[in-house]
């Protein structure tokens, strides 16, 4: 067993191979750990979008119906309508806040020194193009165009802005090793994404899907800037 497996919570390459059917050449080795999952495709992403929309509608409709019907039955029940409208607004907002958590700024670990952060940020800047480098320096987030849309990659997760720039999916995904600089974590995820976008989305956990405007309200300033950059790139390639 490798050092990383011994030290952390993730398996070594050897045990990845032993965990299930070994992914083919060019595929993420981590897919062996989630062999039961259907590989993500454009069709499965659209299905996930529809499921999330239906879920939100199912949450909202009872509250909205309550808010409309009760005052018609008895005007005094208007106060209940106000609460129902509050729930109709709050519940989707709580889900969106959970999605926004994937780009929540992380506290710097005690074992990570500032020099390592600077070196890692420089390395990440070398991996991305000139147009993205400034965004990386300002926000610590990398924006990458993929087949499924535009990815906004942070240290512990990523947003996938779908073509057209109106809808976004939030993915929670982590790197083994607590002592890595934040920019190194972004570089890890970016390289995995570039190597196998479908595999990356399969390994990561989808935490939320919905409208960009709903997510934006719950993001930090730097994450909002990253989302805006992703939306701008996604608008250049409207949904086909």
């Amino acid at each position: 067993m490798g050092d990383l497996a011994a030290a952390g919570s993730l398996p070594a390459a050897g045990s990845l191979a032993a965990a299930g059917s070994l992914p083919g050449a060019g595929e993420l080795p981590e897919l062996a750990n989630v062999h039961w999952r259907e590989r993500v495709s454009e069709a499965s992403l659209r299905r996930a979008d529809r499921t999330w929309t239906l879920s939100i509608v199912a949450h909202e409709v009872p509250f909205l119906v309550t808010a409309v019907v009760l005052p018609l039955l008895a005007p005094v029940l208007a106060i209940v309508s106000v609460f129902a409208l509050g729930f109709a607004w709050t519940i989707p907002a709580l889900y969106a806040a959970r999605g926004a958590g994937v780009l929540r700024p992380q506290r710097r670990r005690a074992q990570t020194d500032a020099g390592a952060e600077t070196r890692a940020l420089g390395f990440l800047g070398d991996l991305v193009g000139h147009d993205v480098r400034e965004l990386v320096t300002r926000t610590g987030l990398a924006v990458e165009r993929g087949a499924f849309g535009v990815w906004v990659v942070g240290p512990a997760g990523a947003l996938l802005v779908r073509p057209g720039g109106r809808r976004v999916q939030c993915y929670c995904v982590r790197v083994a090793g607590g002592e890595l600089p934040a920019a190194d974590r972004v570089a890890h995820l970016l390289l995995a994404l570039r190597a196998d976008e479908s595999g990356f989305a399969t390994v990561a956990n989808l935490t939320w899907s919905g409208a960009c405007w709903r997510l934006r309200r719950h993001l930090s300033a730097s994450a909002r800037e990253g989302l805006a950059a992703g939306m701008a790139m996604a608008r250049e390639h409207p949904r086909g």
Partner: protein, 74 residues
């Protein structure tokens, strides 16, 4: 000159340099790559155009091979 880089807690560490006509450098890079793969690192050949390929052996024609740690859903 191609480079083998490991992303680690220092930011990154250059483990080896090689060129196709440098047999000793190539062998050293191969050995370093294998040692890191055995430790649980995963290798990615990163190309200047922004593409990347997961590799298990040293690609001699790649300019940059990066060792990363496994990822998992959070």
């Amino acid at each position: 000159m191609s480079r083998l880089i490991r992303m680690d807690q220092t930011g990154h560490t250059v483990l080896a340099h090689w060129s196709p006509d440098d047999l000793a450098g190539t062998e050293a890079a191969r050995a370093a790559l294998q040692a890191e793969l055995d430790r649980g690192y995963l290798a990615v050949a990163s190309e200047p155009d922004g593409s990347a390929t997961a590799v298990r052996e040293l690609p001699l024609d790649s300019e940059l091979v990066i060792l990363r740690r496994p990822i998992a859903g959070g």
